[in-house]
Structures are given as C-alpha cells and as structure tokens.
C-alpha cells in the first residue's frame, strides 16, 4: 500500500496533487505540500542516511531547519549537496540520495539564475507564527512599510495582515550593522524541473529595517540516552507537526519521552490518530499537567531510557525495568529559543535556569524579540537530564550531525580543555550543517557535567551568519560572466573589434593590444605596428588616459604642490610632462599638464590611475588646502583621443586639419591648439610617447568613432597603421620612458627612474619631497632604471628576470641587484632590449651583468635607458 502512514488531512498538503519521487533506489509517492521528510515518513521510511564518522544509520529527527541528521543529496533536476530532507519541498521528478556525511559537487555548470534586490521597511518581522503575525498586524499602518518574512511556504488559508508585505520561503540568514538583514528567498526550488529558466532560482534580499521584530520561535531539543540516534527516535514536536501539517503518523507504537508538559498534547494527538502511546516523564512523581484539555497522565515517572534495541530502526526500548516495543520514540528535552539573529545583531544572551536555555538580554540595535523566541510559554523544565557516566556514553550523542558523544566531551575535558570553544574544536560539536541548533545546549550541559560546573558558566559558542546554509552561487548573484566587473570601452571600441584587434584588460578597460593581420602572430603584428610608427604613420586609441579639468584662481599653485616640477611657470598654450609622488616620495603617477588659460589646466593621468589621482587631488584640496580656490572635474570620457604618430603624421594631420598651421615653427613640440579636424571641433596636443613626431587629437567622445575613421581614410595614402598597447609599450621603452605600474612598483622614486630633471630646483615643497631625503631614499646605491642589451641580440629576457653581478650563481640565498621591468624585441634596433631596475644602475652603465632565468645566466650589457634616438632628433619629424 502506498503511503501507509498517511492519516487524515494535513493542513499543508494537497491530497488532490499526488507526486512521484525517487529516494535511493525506491520510487515513492507523496502529495503537493509535502517535504521530502514528510513524504518519506508517510511511506514508513525513517532511515535516510549514515553518519559522517561512525557510519551509523540516521533518521529524521525534526521537521524544519534545525534537523541535525536527515541529510540528503539532490540528484535531479540539478545536483545539490547536503540538504536536510525536512526543508526540501517535494516535487514531481525529485531524485534524492541518502547522504553519508559528505556532499558531492556536480561537475555540470549550474544552469540556474540568481539575483539580489534591495528592500527598505520601517518594520521587519521575522517569522510568521502567531507572535510574528500579531507583531506584523500591530505594526501595519498607513505610510509604514511592514515586511513579514517566513521560511516556510505559504500555508493554505494563511492570511497576510493588511498592509503587510509577506515573503514566504524566505529565510533571514544574517543580521548585520545598522539593522541590515540579509534573507534568502527560494523561488523556484519547489517547482523542480518545471522551474521557468528565466526566473531566479534564489534571491538575496538586502533589507534595511527601521525596527526588527524577531518572532523566530524555539527549537525543541533532545534528551541524551544510549543509542539516542537510532532512526525512529525524533523530537516530540516534530511528530505533531508531521501529523497536523502533513497528515503523517510517524509511528504506530510510540514512546513519548519528556522532561516537560509540552509532549502531552503530542501523545494525545497520536493516540487520537490511533497510535499506542506510552508517556515516560523524567520528572519524579509528576502527573504531567499539559497546558489544556483533559490530560492523559504519565505512564512512567522519574523515567530514564537505558537501552535502545534496533539498528536501522528503533524496535524496543528499556525504560527502568520495563521493555517497551515501539516503532518511534518521541523526545522532548525542552526548548531553545531561536536567537541566532539576535546574537548576530550584537544582542546579549543570558542563561535562564528555569528554561535551561538562553534568553535575550539587551541589544544595541533596534530589535525586539517576541513569542517563544523570548521564552514566552515555554516549559520551565530546566536542562535535560544527563545519564550517569557509563560505558554507554560512547553511544550517547549530544551532536548527531558530528557524531559527538558524551564520552567525546568527557575525553576533551580530561585532556585538560575547559573552554567550550576548545571542546567544540576538539569534538567538532556544533560545526556541522546545522551549526548545533538542537545540540548546542546539550553539549554545554555535558561539558558542565564533566567539569562539575553549570551550563550558565560554560555558555555556548557564538552564532555566526548564515543562520542556514546558503549556496555559493546564491550569494554570487548576477555578478557573473561579463557582469562580474564592468567592461569599460572607448568610443572606437566597435572599430577595433571589427578590425580584428586582440584586447588586453587594463583595469576595467578593454584596450586594443595589437591588430593581427591574416597569418600574423603577435610578434609579427607588433613589429609591423612599430615599424609604421617609426617610418611612416600610425595611430592609436588613447582615449582611456585619465583627464582632469583643473580650474580656479589657485589652479597653478595647487598643481605646483602636487607635481614634482612646477606647473605655474607654464604659459597658456603649452604642455609639460609631470610626475606625482605619494607622501612617501614614491612615484604615484605621471602624465601631462596643459595650460588652457591663466586659471585653467587639463591634466592627464595613466589609464589605471585616473580615479586615484582625482581622489588624491580632492583629498588634498578638501582636507589640507581648503583655502585654495580650485575645482577638479573628471573629463576622461568627455574626450576621445587619438595619437597620430610617425614621420608622416604631419602630412596626414594637415590633410584633415586645414585651419591648423602644422609646421614646427607654428606648432612646436609641447604645445596645444584648438582647431577643426575632419570637420570636428578638436584640441590637438603636440606631445609624443614614442619619440616620433606625434599629435594627440581630442574630440568630444561621441565624435571619436568619426575622427578615427576619418584619420584611417586620410592616412590611407601613407599606409597608416592602427597600433595597440603592445607596440606603444615597445616604442616608449626604446626611448626609456617608464610606465607607472610596470617599471615602478610603489618603491621607486622619480630619481630612481632617471627623472631627477623633473624635480624642481627651487626649495618650494611638493607632496612627498621630504621623503626623498630620508636615509634610505637618499642612498646613492638605490635601484635605478637602466637599459639592458643581451649579448646575444636575439635573446629575449623575460620580464621579471633578476640581475646578478657574477656567474656562476653561488648557493642560495643569492644576492641580486634588481630585475627586468620591461623587455621587447625592437624593430628599430633590430635586436632585443630591456629596461631594468638595478642597484647603482647608472654607475654600472657599460658593465656586464647577468640576467637569471630559472637558474640560467644570460650575459647583458648595461646601458642608459634611452636606446633609440638619444638626441631626440626625430621629435619634429
């Protein structure tokens, strides 16, 4: 007969909706509204898995998230490890396996969507039990947003109070600063294979609440006795839940084993459902007075379970001198108010002797605890009694999830451990999927007994988020794939893609790295691009460079304080290279400053440091120099910028900029002009990062694409070549121009880079100047930027290779002089070359050193950093 243990109509199931599922190798049926656990119990299945260390059969203990033992692995529709059968909603086609303590991750990519939303409310009520509903109803009023969050699916006929926003299947997992709570909504899990693919499987709710009401209820706890982990031994309250909510009679011959009155209605209900029930009350002489109704009396008082028979399933128990044949043992050792969130919020807890449990004792955040979570109506039965020490202690469990017994606890204390935190780590109690929800206080009680102290003194371990396990992918949300981090692109990006560019990530930017042609590898493409820049004309998208508009009466003074060289001496219409140091004197960034007017500059930064430099400027302006009348505005994306480079660049520019006098006399190096390029309003800078005649043409970014195409067309006659960041790196390295972040690493001063000329002679201070005279930064033997020429002109040094003075290498540690920061093949030099930071490098020019690579020694000649056109003859074309 299918579902032989169904009895009556549970108020959560829908008997008109039969569902078929598979557990292990058995095909079973249940009903809509069932959990996997209730469906298994309806089919008489108690054993669901094996314990992690001892491999003992384990059954269903509880009816909710506190379940310590009934772990399953979901196989279909998509594999998910280690869920509790008590929280998995049944659906057609569910396939689950018993789980032996360790989950299995699927190698299939997870097809599900996940998302997160922000929510705000004046009152957040956690838990939709009677106390939560009352609190929500009470809080609801016009203009006040009340959210009611409950972990269960919406029960049939459960009314949501008017003016209250209810979230079901939603578990608050974390309570953080300033009443910020995080909840996980399970939106499609219960639909199984029928889940719509475009719907997020789970959603993270980020809730900011004015006030929080915790109506999180209480978890029943067990009573330790020998073999108390046998399938069929479960919490009394759970048995009642299965009967009332799911129409499942968990057994036909029940022993109710309790320390308190709460289990009597359970016995009552099971009896009326036709079960034989014996009530054993641990209290001596108690007649057990249940809260309401005509009480059945306890059959046994002062009772203790001393022995359990049956392995896969309890069949018989010994209570005192009596043997009772049973198929379930329903245990109630009292209740623990659920205060994990309260504790996470910073709430203090106090141990209540009457309840044998912790109660809220004040919290700095705006939170109230109501109902059983505050201890209201809980039986005042004290902690559950522990058995007298005996050989059976090694089979008497306090934490089923981690196979922790009373013997383990005693072993820990006799090893000298006193702190419950140590004992938790020694025994691993409380560290499993349930984080000790039902076992925490049992463990403490066992520790207290072993130490002859009290549970109050022993305390419990701290509750940490999340309250229930949360899938990694759920918290990852939608920040996946291309949305993991913004991809920043320039206005010409589409052109680069269409023309086969390969890209490199520079921070969040996608920059064209090189443009391989048919049959070209990277080296060939870069060589071609470099050759064009040196011998003809080439163009590059440099729109990613940071641009900051600095204006105001004190703009010049301001820049003088931040750059190592003076910007106040620039005349309008001119441009100057500048270096910025951190307060520690190390190079922070470099770029150019163009004086647009008496009180206005446009400064550029490296691509990676644009935001950093603007923040740097604002910080000094606001926090140190508030009297300076200066305003800084980012215009990085206002302008699209194209570098037009090479001896033929002037001709190309002349063609597209008819109004601009391009001859050297009218438009000399380090000047800028406003004009029209290809009919577009443009600002042209005559600056060069390659040593060649070069222009940087700026237009409004929405015109960037047009400008690019016009230049491609205008340069066609001269065979203009677009080039990427790699060629740019080679060209600048041939000239010994450092790149901040590649040739520097935060430990390099301007002088180390050979930029001493860019440090003002006047004694006027600039940020970082004082640091340059510290004993270590003033050392003459600091690492300095030099060029390296491998003796074998075909030999390429790996960037990162280290430099040593002599060969062969001695035994480690081998002292080294520095390392290679940049290394390329130069078409112009027809050989390889490198830049390196080398101790006393400038004094070593002309000497022979060795670059080490995985133990191999490559002889190199030290040169100055400028290897191409040292006289700068090519600058004007």
């Amino acid at each position: 007969m299918s579902q032989p243990f169904r009895h009556g109509d549970g108020d959560r199931i829908d008997r008109t909706r039969p569902l078929t599922f598979r557990f292990g190798d058995r095909v079973l049926t249940g009903f809509g509204g069932d959990t996997l656990a209730s469906a298994l119990l309806a089919n008489g299945v108690h054993e669901v898995g094996r314990s992690v260390d001892l491999g003992r059969p384990r059954g269903i203990v509880a009816a909710g998230v506190e379940e310590p033992s009934a772990l399953v692995q979901i196989e279909a529709p998509f594999p998910e490890p280690m869920l509790t059968a008590t929280t998995v909603e049944l659906y057609d086609g569910l396939v689950a396996q018993p789980l032996a303590g360790r989950g299995l991750l699927s190698s299939e990519p997870d097809p599900a969507r996940y998302d997160a939303v922000w929510a705000h409310c004046e009152v957040l009520v956690v838990g939709a039990g009677p106390a939560g509903l009352a609190a929500a109803t009470d809080a609801a009023r016009p203009g006040q947003r009340v959210m009611l969050v409950d972990e269960r699916p919406p029960g049939p006929g459960e009314a949501t109070p008017a003016g209250v926003r209810r979230l079901s299947r939603t578990t608050v997992v974390g309570y953080y600063d300033d009443n910020f709570l995080v909840a996980i909504e399970r939106r499609t899990d219960h639909l199984g294979p029928a889940a719509p693919p475009n719907a997020a499987r789970q959603r993270v709710w980020r809730i900011r609440a004015g006030r929080v009401v915790l109506a999180t209820g209480a978890h029943e706890r067990s009573i330790p006795f020998p073999d108390n982990d046998r399938p069929g031994i479960m919490l009394a309250g759970a048995a009642l839940t299965y009967l009332r909510c799911y129409g499942v009679l968990v057994g036909r011959r029940a022993l109710v084993y309790t320390t308190n009155d709460s289990a009597y209605p359970v016995a009552d209900a099971l009896r009326s459902a036709g079960a034989e029930v014996v009530v054993a009350d641990t209290r001596l002489g108690s007649r057990g007075v249940p809260p309401a109704g005509n009480p059945p009396a306890a059959d046994l008082t002062g009772a203790r379970i001393t022995e359990v028979f049956g392995e896969q399933r309890v069949i018989c128990v010994r209570v005192g001198d009596r043997r009772l044949d049973v198929d379930v043992v329903l245990v109630s050792g009292g209740f623990n108010p659920v205060l994990h969130l309260y504790s996470q919020a910073g709430g203090r807890l106090r141990y209540d002797e009457d309840l044998g449990a912790l109660l809220p004792d004040g919290c700095r955040q705006r939170v109230d605890v109501v109902g059983t979570a505050a201890g209201e109506g809980l039986p005042r039965c004290g902690p559950p009694p522990l058995p007298e020490p005996s050989a059976a202690d090694s089979r008497t469990f306090v934490d089923l999830a981690r196979d922790v017994t009373i013997a383990d606890v005693r072993r820990a204390t006799s090893a000298g451990l006193r702190s419950v935190e140590h004992i938790k780590r020694y025994t691993t109690a409380g560290t499993a999927h349930d984080q000790g929800k039902t076992s925490g206080l049992l463990t403490s009680a066992a520790v207290a007994a072993a130490l002859g102290s009290s549970a109050a003194e022993v305390g419990v371990t701290t509750a940490r988020p999340p309250y229930v396990p949360v899938a990694f992918a759920t918290l990852a949300g939608r920040d996946r794939g291309d949305l993991f981090d913004p991809i920043r692109i320039t206005p010409m990006h589409g052109w680069h893609v269409a023309h086969g560019a390969t890209f490199e990530n520079v921070g969040q930017w996608k920059r064209a790295w090189y443009y391989p042609r048919e049959g070209e590898d990277m080296a060939a493409a870069v060589a071609r691009e470099c050759r064009a820049a040196r011998t003809g004309v080439a163009m590059m998208d440099v729109s990613t460079l940071g641009k900051i508009d600095v204006q105001g009466p004190d703009a010049a003074e301001f820049l003088d304080r931040l750059y190592t060289n003076l910007m106040s001496t620039l005349s309008v219409g001119t441009v100057r290279y500048g270096v910025m140091c951190g307060v520690d004197g190390m190079v922070l960034d470099d770029g150019t400053a163009a004086r647009l007017g008496p009180e206005r500059y446009l400064v550029t930064t490296t691509t990676g440091n644009a935001a950093l430099v603007l923040d740097w400027m604002e910080e000094w302006l606001q926090t140190e120099w508030p009297r300076l009348r200066v305003w800084c505005t980012s215009v990085t994306e206002q302008w699209a910028t194209v570098a037009l480079v090479g001896p033929a660049a002037r001709g190309v520019l002349a063609r597209v900029a008819p109004d601009l006098a391009v001859d050297t006399a009218s438009f000399p190096f380090m000047r800028w002009r406003d004009t029209t390029v290809a009919g577009l309003p443009a600002r042209v800078f005559r600056i060069s990062f390659s040593g060649e005649l070069a222009y940087e043409i700026n237009v409004a970014s929405w015109n960037g694409h047009a400008l690019w195409e016009e230049l491609v067309a205008a340069g066609a006659a001269d065979g203009i070549v677009p080039y990427g960041t790699e060629a740019m790196h080679v060209l600048r390295a041939e000239k010994g121009y450092p790149i901040v972040g590649q040739d520097t690493d935060g430990t390099v001063t301007p002088d180390d880079l050979g930029l001493g000329w860019a440090i003002r002679k006047s004694d006027k201070d600039f940020v970082g100047r004082r640091s340059l005279s510290r004993p270590d930064t003033a050392r003459p033997d600091r690492k300095q930027l030099v060029g390296l020429l491998p003796e074998d002109p075909a030999r390429h040094l790996v960037e990162g290779a280290h430099i040593v003075e002599r060969a062969p290498l001695g035994p480690p540690p081998v002292p080294y002089l520095g390392h290679v920061t940049s290394s390329y093949f130069s078409v112009a030099l027809d050989r390889t070359f490198a830049l390196a930071l080398v101790a006393s490098g400038r004094q070593r020019i002309g000497t022979r050193l060795f670059a080490t690579l995985d133990g191999e020694l490559i002889p190199v000649e030290v040169t100055g950093p400028v290897l191409y056109d040292p006289k700068g003859a090519r600058r004007d074309g």
Binding site: D177, R206, R364, D615, D763, R774
Partner: protein, 82 residues
C-alpha cells in the same frame, strides 16, 4: 553593512564611501624642518584604538566630500563629531 551618514547626502551604505583613517593628522607646516623620526611618524603612525575613533571618510560615490566621523571600532556605531 554599515549605514554611514554623509553630512550632505544623508545615510548611505558603506560601499559608497572611501575610508581615510584617523582624523586630524595635518600635513606638517614645514616638512623640511622635521627630523627623520618626526617625518616617519607623520607618514606611518596613526591611532588604532579599540572603541571610540575619530576618523575620516569620503563620500566617493556621492558628493565626493571628505568629512570626519566618530565611530566605535567594536560596535561600529557611528555619530557625527561635534
């Protein structure tokens, strides 16, 4: 996640802010006149109290204004300075 009150924009989540460490550490009047020890202290030594801390924050994702904040480094409770 802390809710930090920007004096201009009001309460915003901590992600919108940039942390500036201890408040009230002024750039020395004449750095050149400081000893190496004094300069080293200015560069690197900052208060690191357990409890009340006066610190700098910048509402970098908002109005870009720097401001001082009083915050408890244990409870993360914040309040304005004054």
């Amino acid at each position: 996640m802390m809710l930090i009150t920007c004096p201009w924009c009001g309460p915003r989540i901590e992600i919108e802010f940039h942390y500036g460490g201890e408040a009230g550490v002024a750039y020395p009047e004449n750095p050149a006149e400081l000893s190496h020890e004094e300069w080293g202290r200015y560069l690197f030594v900052r208060a690191n109290p357990k409890g009340e801390f006066f610190e700098r924050w910048c509402h970098s994702a908002g109005c870009r204004r720097w401001f001082d904040l009083r915050r408890d480094t244990v409870t993360h409770e914040t309040g304005s300075i004054g």
